[in-house]
């Protein structure tokens, strides 16, 4: 995990460089005299069918992806920890009820639900982020629940309860700090799924304003050029896969989220 800070710094530099590059080149500037131009000094990745600079569009898409990622992670982590922790502390029938709730919610077909929600709210960054979070919180809650259960088996928790601490207050003071770090790791590993889901939503593009250069929307727009100018659809695809891969490799999910035959926390990702 000590690679993470270094990698984040590198990533920030790359994003900043891209942003600076995009500032010199307007992603929306149409230049029909330079359609489908190959890479040259002025357009580092060439232009698309309307003469727009590809690299500039990619970097705007990168910024949008990062924002959506941040929104989804914030929503999922807070909701997941809140519900999962509450379930673990509650014990008894309440816990079983919440557990079933989370398991069933985690099993619903996610992309379709996110699709329906975004067609209703549009593909603005906030609404897309919340739609994706709506379909993903359940697994965070399950992981948080598993982790909290593990902590509750330890001595310091039992001591706190024996001393008469109110369970929920004790939970916030004693369990929460312990599970935050593995939850962060899980969230980071889940980042890949979020990036891919957002690109799928943009690809299908219902209710979208197609002026926005989201990577998925760009692949949809350029899919007709797959044979003539393959770099057009492939560049955003490489970007998506690259970012998702990087997120996956950087963050090792915590051991308790590893799938086992009888665990309460499904451990892997689905789109």
């Amino acid at each position: 995990m000590s690679r993470v800070p270094a990698a984040l710094v590198v990533a920030a530099i790359v994003v900043a460089a891209l942003a600076i590059a995009s500032r010199t080149l307007d992603p929306h500037a149409i230049d029909l005299s330079a359609r489908l131009a190959g890479p040259d000094a002025r357009h580092l990745l060439g232009t698309d069918h309307l003469g727009r600079d590809l690299l500039a569009r990619l970097s705007i898409g990168a910024g949008r992806t990062v924002i959506v990622l941040a929104i989804v992670l914030a929503a999922c982590v807070s909701a997941g920890i809140a519900i999962g922790l509450a379930a673990a502390i509650a014990t008894g029938a309440t816990e079983m009820f919440l557990l079933r709730l989370m398991q069933t919610a985690a099993a619903l077909p996610r992309l379709v639900i996110a699709l329906a929600v975004t067609s209703f709210t549009g593909l603005g960054l906030l609404s897309a982020g919340l739609a994706i979070a709506l379909t993903g919180w359940a697994r965070y809650a399950l992981v948080a629940h598993g982790l909290a259960r593990e902590v509750m088996g330890r001595e310091h928790w039992r001591a706190a309860v024996a001393l008469g601490a109110h369970p929920f207050r004790a939970g916030i003071r004693h369990i929460l700090p312990v599970i935050i770090r593995p939850m962060r790791a899980f969230a980071g590993a889940d980042g890949a799924r979020i990036v891919v889901t957002f690109s799928s939503l943009a690809f299908l593009g219902l209710g979208a304003d197609t002026g926005n250069p989201d990577w998925g929307a760009m692949i949809w727009e350029y899919r007709l050029f797959l044979f003539d100018a393959p770099r057009l659809p492939l560049a955003p695809l490489v970007a998506i896969v690259g970012v998702a891969l990087a997120l996956q490799l950087l963050f090792e999910p915590p051991k308790d989220s590893r799938p086992a035959v009888q665990s309460s926390s499904p451990g892997h990702l689905e789109r």
Binding site: A93, R100, L101, T104, A105, R223, V241
Partner: protein, 311 residues
């Protein structure tokens, strides 16, 4: 005594509770979508005057209050009547019946091949270190990092254009199904192989494994014959989150390959604001989730009848 039975019921109600909440929320959201199915439908034929619009609305029953429409739909559902599509006037049941086989073929087939592939990959990787394990890990990571539509486009480009092995859009049934099935199988086999590999590793640490080896059984034979059941069970557990592929989680794949399955139908219905179709789909999805989970659990119980430790 009655207190604990009540508590058990409350506990078990968690699953159905979220489904009921999900249905209600979804029905409300669907109705609240901006855009009017009548407008969408008339736009295809060039628009119409207000009177035609009003008549069409009346005919489709859209002038009743939302609760009334929902009540009509629910009572129809109980009679087995799924209603008619707002976009095409065709009975929903027939639409679903026409599309379901495609989704099952791609989703179910993809899952089946994915599980088989993941299992075999894990079987190959378990006794050896190094390359095979790396492949398993790489498959899992790449499978999660690649969007299904991206993989689909790559496949079309690779197999359809460069190698010219398959005609993904104009070929016969097998050719049309081959690539989308492969896409799903590739995406699913990675995580399944990780789960199965973990089970194999656990099995290798078990005393009965050492005993079998000591008796002279080869590593591969022990893994396959004795540990195979454990790994398969684990694969089934790992399969559960992926079951949504069948019911339309493969919407993107179906759109890319122009397959007339349920996923593509949902995308179209959302675009056309076809409330009735979406409600029917939702009901179907819920039934599928419940049924497939029950099915997988039954399979697991059949393979491993031992009582599970209480959670």
């Amino acid at each position: 005594m009655s207190n604990s039975i009540l508590r058990q019921w409350i506990a078990r109600a968690g699953g159905p509770a979220i489904l009921v909440i999900a249905i209600l929320l979804a029905l409300l959201l669907i109705r609240a979508m901006p855009g009017d199915p009548v407008d969408v439908r008339l736009a295809a034929t060039g628009g119409a005057d207000n009177q035609t619009r009003a008549e069409l609305r009346q005919q489709l029953g859209l002038n009743d209050g939302p609760l009334q429409q929902l009540f009509r739909w629910i009572t129809g559902l109980m009679r087995g009547d799924l209603g008619r599509s707002l976009a095409s006037d065709r009975p929903i049941a027939r639409e679903i019946a026409a599309r379901l086989p495609w989704s099952i073929a791609i989703g179910g087939g993809g899952l089946a091949f994915g599980v088989a592939g993941g299992f075999i990959l894990a079987l190959l990787a378990a006794p050896r270190g190094g390359a095979a394990r790396l492949t398993s890990r790489a498959a899992a990571i790449l499978g999660q990092a690649t969007p299904a539509f991206g993989l689909g486009l790559l496949m079309i480009w690779l197999f359809g254009v460069q190698l010219q092995w398959i005609r993904p859009f104009t070929g016969g049934l097998t050719e049309r199904l081959a690539l989308p099935l492969l896409v799903i199988a590739l995406i699913v086999c990675g995580p399944i192989s990780r789960v199965a590999l973990a089970a194999f590793d656990d099995a290798r640490a078990a005393p009965w494994f050492t005993a079998a080896r000591a008796k002279g059984l080869s590593e591969n034979a022990t893994l396959f014959r004795h540990a195979g059941k454990h790994a398969f069970l684990a694969s089934l557990a790992g399969l559960t989150p992926e079951l949504a592929w069948v019911i339309g989680g493969s919407a993107v794949t179906e759109v890319v390959f122009s397959v007339p399955g349920l996923g593509g139908w949902v995308v179209e219905s959302i675009g056309a604001r076809d409330y009735v179709a979406l409600q029917a789909y939702l009901a179907l999805a819920i039934c599928w989730v419940a049924a497939s989970h029950a099915g997988v659990n039954l399979a697991r119980k059949w393979l491993d009848p031992r009582p599970r430790p209480l959670q």
